[in-house]
Homo-oligomer: 352 residues x 4
């Protein structure tokens, strides 16, 4: 094998990226080298590509970005114990120190010394990548590579839904992006009785509906949807999953939440906003749950169970597939405000 590979490199502190040849990385003793089979584009990657404010403060160039992938192990570091040559893995992207309070009490995904693949260190938009053994999740050989690649964001949705205890409840999922669509699918699979989905894009609302939403509400065109939901549910939904995060989403979410309800916050606002803690949380006796990442590895096992037994079909949320060589074209689509998309998967040739 050559010592060079194709990679999507963030070379400049500006919008864009370059698909160029770089050296194949050397795995450290506790890492494995993997050959990427498929990778997919996350909202974080769009921020980095468009070089928004957050990226400017967090990202150090030059850097290979990207973190959602599946891959084959082609080399193992000297201290690696459980991952083997030829294993078909997906990558958990939260890299834990394994020694802080969080790591040693079952919450590695919120390690106090966390670093993130493709954000703090080189990522996986490349033909090869070095992955810490602790972050390798072995896939069943029968799992299609597009599904295997998107397990990381599917895991976000799974963790959000599982913490929210949606079974036999009436819920609302706010947002219509890929993770909201996944959340619709997972919620339906684990027994939400009725799913309201609030979004803004007809293309994406339709995907959410195909994933499992019972009632789609386009908040840009429908009027009095807050009153409608409160009325239909006799006081509000039991659970709100907020996958949008902005002020309007959060305000709507608490307005349609019944007393003693659960508001699960996954979406990220770009800045603080005015919030009515007294009426939203205190007087309502509400429970607000912040979700970041996925449980390592409880969420992965839960997701595996749901995928293995066919309880959830994630295909409707994959809107586009490209060969990796079309990376720039794929990123331009992902960040387009004119052309809609959902999850975009990049396949290493000749697998497409």
């Amino acid at each position: 094998m050559s010592d060079k590979m194709l990679a999507a490199l963030k070379t400049k502190r500006a919008a864009g990226a370059e698909l160029i040849e770089v050296n194949i990385p050397q795995p450290k003793p506790d890492e494995v080298l993997v050959k990427i089979k498929a990778c997919s584009i996350c909202g974080t990657d769009k921020h980095i590509y468009t070089w928004d404010k957050w990226s400017q403060s967090r990202i150090k160039t030059p850097m290979i970005f990207g973190h959602e992938c599946c891959a084959e192990v082609v080399e193992v570091g000297s201290h690696v114990k459980n991952v083997k040559m030829g294993d078909y893995i997906s990558a958990e992207t939260h890299i834990p120190c394994q020694y802080c309070y969080q790591c040693r009490t079952g919450n590695m995904h919120l390690c106090q010394n966390l670093s993130i693949l493709g954000v703090d260190i080189n990522g996986i938009f490349a033909e090869y990548a070095a992955i810490p053994e602790i972050c390798c999740w072995k896939n069943d050989s029968s799992l299609p590579i597009d599904v295997a690649s998107i397990q990381e964001p599917l895991g976000n949705a799974t963790y959000t839904v599982m913490e929210s205890r949606v079974q036999a409840k009436k819920i609302a999922i706010i947002g219509d992006g890929p993770i909201a669509a996944f959340a619709c699918g997972i919620s339906r699979a684990v027994g939400a009785a009725k799913i309201y989905n609030l979004g803004m894009m007809p293309f994406n609302l339709d995907i959410c509906r195909r994933m499992g939403a019972d009632i789609s509400i386009n908040v840009t065109t429908e009027k009095k949807y807050v009153e409608r939901i409160i009325d239909e549910t006799d006081g509000g939904v039991d659970v709100v999953l907020d996958m949008a995060g902005n002020k309007n989403a959060v305000t709507d979410g608490f307005n349609i939440l019944r007393r003693m309800g659960t508001f699960t916050a996954f979406g990220i606002a770009s800045e603080p906003f005015e919030f009515d803690m007294a009426n939203n949380v205190v007087f309502k006796g509400a429970n607000v749950i912040g979700i970041s990442g996925r449980k390592m590895f409880e969420t992965w096992y839960q997701l595996k169970n749901l995928l293995d037994t066919g309880k959830v079909d994630v295909k409707p949320a994959i809107s586009h597939r490209f060969p990796f060589t079309d990376f720039i074209k794929a990123m331009d689509l992902a960040t387009s405000t004119a052309v809609p998309s959902a999850k975009i998967v990049l396949l290493m040739s000749p697998e497409i």
Copy 2:
């Protein structure tokens, strides 16, 4: 309306019952009088009919037995506040004192002074019955009367499943009677990833399969099923729902349970048996949850959500329907060891 009604009366301290005319009861100030639309036969009713050891010690004759029903309210007591003439109700059968520690801490279903409809006081195998207001659950007018009647045992299954947190897990349901069949249906609806069902009767195992069991195991004919389940699940199922209760069921249940698993005990053994607390519970770090009755009324709301949205179809578990005038025939079938049956519903004429 006449002051007489047909009722299934336990007249003698012996097997059997009589379908005879008795006085229509007078509701107390906190009761309503209801006209029964449908009623159904529970395992408890079989014990009373066959006059087993438990019945001999608990039941005082003469008594109208039966407790599963749906009905129309035809008279309301003077202190009744929320139930109205014409309401279409089903009866919760645990009658709480509303004042003890259990009742005032959210657990009325395990009231310290509990009495049970059709066991401790006159029940509903009759044309009319007096029901405490606290035990009335209002049905939607669209709910079919056979489904409305069986909500009480469906509630047992729902409570068992909801306490067991089955979503995205591999589970086993032990037993193949109607409540096991309901548990299969509810577990599937709320997202169990894979359901093993262990039973003894092909007729009933088939019903459980139609309700949602993924894998049926006839423990009287299949060999090495314990080893098989442990092997297929890589260490045992996450949750066991025991709807059988006898020594073999409990032993099997703990044998197929993985470490840190949940064993939910609903089935009732007729007497104590040898149990390995150290290996079953302590070394395994298992959690054992005892289930009696249904949460009043959280379980009823959950069940309503599942039925209203069509997430569970209970029809496969209703094996027979009779007019109420065929009560003795229905009881003989229910207690037959030769002819199999599942849930048997009795319909008041002319509704059949």
Copy 3:
């Protein structure tokens, strides 16, 4: 007994109140008439007395306000079942409908049709009051009347602490009013390992310290207390109990909270404020719990256990005692910005 009684009446839509003679109320069928033995002043009463914006929108005059009390039952309504003449009771002040979803699922304290004693209906700043049976909590005859009177706010603190699972954890209690002081006492009693208390008033911080706070921080004079707490706790406290509610309190609270920590919100801000949901809740994986009222009646039982066994001594938080005839004087002290106070108890003569 005369048909007149002394009562603190809010006669005008303006600051102040009048201590005048009014008719003794008639209990309804499901109420009891009680003779007040002691009553105490809540923050809500101060709002009503000073006629703030909230009071102007909520309170209808004329009205007897006040809701914290203990009393003797002197007359029982015709439907009352469990409360008897001569019972020594304290009043739960949340009056539930007993029939909505919240009431029938164990959360009466957040009834959808809730009314509040001394806010929505006449209260207990009077010689006699009519109390719904459902709101009567029977005290042990040995409980001192000042302690019996303040059980309602003690219950707020108990519910807040119990939901927060403080045992063996490092916690912060923000605020130094009476409920914060009670929370210090309850937290110490149920095993908080270390209690930081943040407040602004030396008089009140001292009371909190006597109730159980390990470390007192006066946020108006101490600098860099956020950094100090993060440093001393290696990343932040496990739990924050916010009994203040304003923007600074909430901001400080989330700043000193470790990842995956619990923020329990009891304090009420007078208006919405800017909040960083992304950094405070989402990225931190925090859990925010809104607390309103007390569990009916789980909290009362828990509190009884703690008081009966002497695990908590609430006396340090009672700063003043007055005869009820000095009601106006007591209210003026309670609302004084010049003279500090904590919990103020009013005793009916001749018991003082």
Copy 4:
């Protein structure tokens, strides 16, 4: 340093042990070599010493037994990352594989491939021992060595108590050995309102009382204690912690448990016994929690918080201290049926 050390070796498949010179072990790459400062005697060590049935089936000779200790790190393996020369550690004794389902879902202490220090591999009754890095818990330098040594069994008690949610509850602790005594201390520290302690030995019941039991009951001499407890608690205790495990203990425990109560099982019976699952668990709606080991490392952090802040004083439970050279004498005392003892600590000279 010499390459020989003194160790308590189980040389023969028979009762007893020998204190002899053996080679100092070589740490593997992921282990550290520690110099023992203090060690203590567990019930398991007594089984091994007396060579009971369990030991005969589990223990392979020759083997150094013992697992409770504190020690100084004197050599670190080549892959060790976080433990350093000179660290003052105590040993977690459950050695996990770190890769099975249990290990990767926060339950390493119940690893599917668990091995136990001093049971499955050489232990710490010696001057030196090799300990896997994953099992090293760093102590604060101020922690006395006798307390540091007994943290492992203290952790059993802490895990048992914390899972049982005893705060503000009335509880019973069954058993009077060292772990029952620790459980009394921890339960008191984390807010149990009232602690009944049932035991058989006056010497040990007295220690439990000094650790925190409110009411001591000697079941061999007191009559009608079941009735007494049910009566005093108005229906039974909220929680039973069973640290004994035998049939009588379990039977008593369920008899004194109220409906919906929690029975936490830590004690180990030597064989299965007759158990009334229907009345003990099902009809009572009881929750049974099996406890084995300690959470790695949540329990250790909780214990550290309680010890650091002086919330629990474990000294009353340490009944004897010996120099390690008196090991045989100490074991003879520990296994004596004539002379009572509680926790026995062995100190390496010249520290005694």
